[in-house]
């Protein structure tokens, strides 16, 4: 049995169904469909007209305004391309000029003598053409004790890059004998403020040469490699004084008074990265060309020989290196300075970085032997460095020197140096 409200609801639904199905409502719905079809047809016609106009416009020659807009657009695009090319010119030029070098300011306090400030400046010039030619030069500028400025051309060579493994140098170059002189002497690289005894002027290690040099590197397998250098040069000059050879001048000369060339080179092996072992040497003739401070001619030539061994190893923050070099001048009885001599030096050095590699401790022992007792020197050098930047160091060092009593080679020294390579 249905209740009264249910009965009313059923009746209402039946009535609605009957009304909606009536012809009046059906007629209204068909009209709306016709109206929509008409609108759609009208829009399609309008679209076709617009398309036709657009196509017509595309095919028609540009109006002046349009032409102007197009021209401006092309010009703007060209200007942007030119600006990009100009912005990248410095990257893509065939030639590159680069100014590099290093400088240092020192404070040296010897045990006997006056403490003094010292300043050095070594600009380096690199001029490169493509990857074929490099001219490189370094000038050493020093202020003398009397205030004069002393300038010297450390090296100036034109380097031709011949192939993957070979570079030909011509001009004045640092001596490839040993490693300290050619690679380690710049103040921002050397871990102590001073060079090891025997590696300076008139010492045991040749400094520079004027001639030609062939050098390069060769990879041997995945991990190993070798490097080599061979040269021909004018050779050294011998300096006579009081009937003895005072020293071997190896600054590198454009003249060759003894008319005898010197041949030499260095070969190094790196069986694994960061370990290098090298042997170097040179031979030729030399003669006394300066005696008691004045030029001297006619002295007979004599044998000149150099031998060197060097090694280095780096492991994490540890840096170890050692080097031995010996220059040998033969006796010559008919010379103004008949007796020859041996100039010999060696050093061993260890350095360790600590405190996030900001600080570095260094110890070096050197033993330099010269035919002249006043030049021979044994030295212990201890230092602490603070790395201001990878190429800037503040160095504090103490040298304990043992030499001929009364000579400067016997004076212990304190040294402070700030060095910067750029």
């Amino acid at each position: 049995m249905k209740t009264a409200p249910q009965s009313k609801l059923s009746s209402t639904l039946c009535l609605l169904i009957l009304v909606s199905a009536s012809p009046v409502f059906a007629q209204s719905h068909a009209d709306r469909i016709d109206e929509l079809e008409a609108k759609t047809l009208a829009m399609a016609e309008e679209l076709a007209v617009l398309r036709a106009e657009l196509e017509k416009e595309r095919q028609a020659p540009d109006s002046e305004d349009m032409q102007s807009i197009r021209a401006e657009s092309v010009a703007a695009r060209q200007a942007a391309q030119n600006a990009e090319i100009a912005a990248n010119e410095w990257k893509n030029s065939n030639s590159v000029t680069h100014l590099a070098g290093y400088a240092s300011a020192d404070y040296v306090s010897p045990e006997n003598g006056n403490a003094a400030f010292v300043a050095n400046f070594n600009p380096m010039f690199h001029f490169q053409f493509k990857d074929r030619i490099l001219w490189e030069a370094e000038i050493e500028v020093q202020i003398e004790e009397n205030g004069d400025t002393n300038m010297a051309l450390e090296y100036s060579s034109i380097d031709l890059f011949l192939n993957n493994n070979m570079v030909l140098l011509a001009g004045k170059f640092l001596s490839p004998i040993g490693n300290f002189r050619q690679n380690m002497h710049p103040s921002w690289i050397n871990k102590l403020p001073s060079a090891p005894p025997g590696f300076g002027h008139d010492g045991a290690a040749p400094l520079a040469e004027v001639g030609v040099q062939l050098r390069g590197g060769i990879r041997v397998g995945e991990q190993s490699k070798m490097t080599y250098a061979g040269f021909i040069g004018n050779g050294p000059k011998l300096e006579g004084e009081d009937g003895e050879i005072h020293g071997i001048d190896t600054d590198g000369f454009t003249g060759d008074p003894d008319d005898e060339k010197v041949f030499g080179g260095r070969v190094s092996l790196l069986p694994f990265p960061k370990f290098e072992f090298a042997v170097s040497g040179a031979f030729g003739d030399a003669a006394v060309v300066e005696n008691d401070g004045v030029d001297f001619e006619g002295d007979p030539t004599r044998d000149y020989k150099v031998f060197g061994v060097d090694a280095s190893y780096q492991w994490n923050n540890l840096d170890l290196r050692s080097e031995f070099i010996r220059q040998d001048i033969a006796d010559e009885q008919t010379s103004i300075a008949p007796e020859g001599g041996i100039w010999e030096t060696w050093y061993v050095q260890g350095a360790y970085k600590f405190a996030d590699a900001k600080w570095e401790g260094v110890a070096r022992y050197t033993d330099y032997t010269s035919p002249h007792a006043d030049k021979s020197q044994e030295q212990w050098a201890l230092g602490v460095n603070y790395l201001l930047a990878p190429s800037a160091m503040l160095k504090f060092a103490y040298e304990s020197n043992t030499g001929l009593v009364g000579e400067s080679t016997d004076d212990d020294r304190w040294l402070v140096q700030i060095a910067y390579g750029y």
Partner: protein, 102 residues
């Protein structure tokens, strides 16, 4: 002919025979074009990073790639190729690494 000239001539001939011709004919292993125009090669970048770590610290502290611009690294690396006995390939690998890291 002076005896001193003989080794110099021999030296020059060896040099020329072993490389000059190659270099001048642009078939050298060293690219004639500026390295900065080379397409970036991730493997070359990785080789450069390794060569940089293995070679530079043999003598001095690691320098920050940001110390120099791309063109300055070009000249600096050519200088270092001579100093450190690097091959041309090693030099270019390191250069790509430095130019990509500055």
């Amino acid at each position: 002919m002076k005896k001193q000239l003989l080794p110099i001539i021999a030296f020059a001939l060896v040099s020329v025979a072993s490389g000059t011709g190659l270099a001048l004919s642009q078939s050298s292993a060293v690219a004639a074009e500026s390295p900065t125009t080379n397409q970036f090669d991730p493997m070359q970048f990785a080789r450069g990073a390794k060569a940089w770590a293995n070679n530079c610290t043999r003598c001095h502290n690691m320098r920050d790639p940001k110390e120099l611009r791309d063109d300055q690294w070009r000249a600096a690396m050519m200088h270092m190729r001579v100093r450190a006995g690097l091959t041309a390939a090693e030099t270019e690998d390191i250069l790509i690494f430095l130019q990509g890291s500055n």
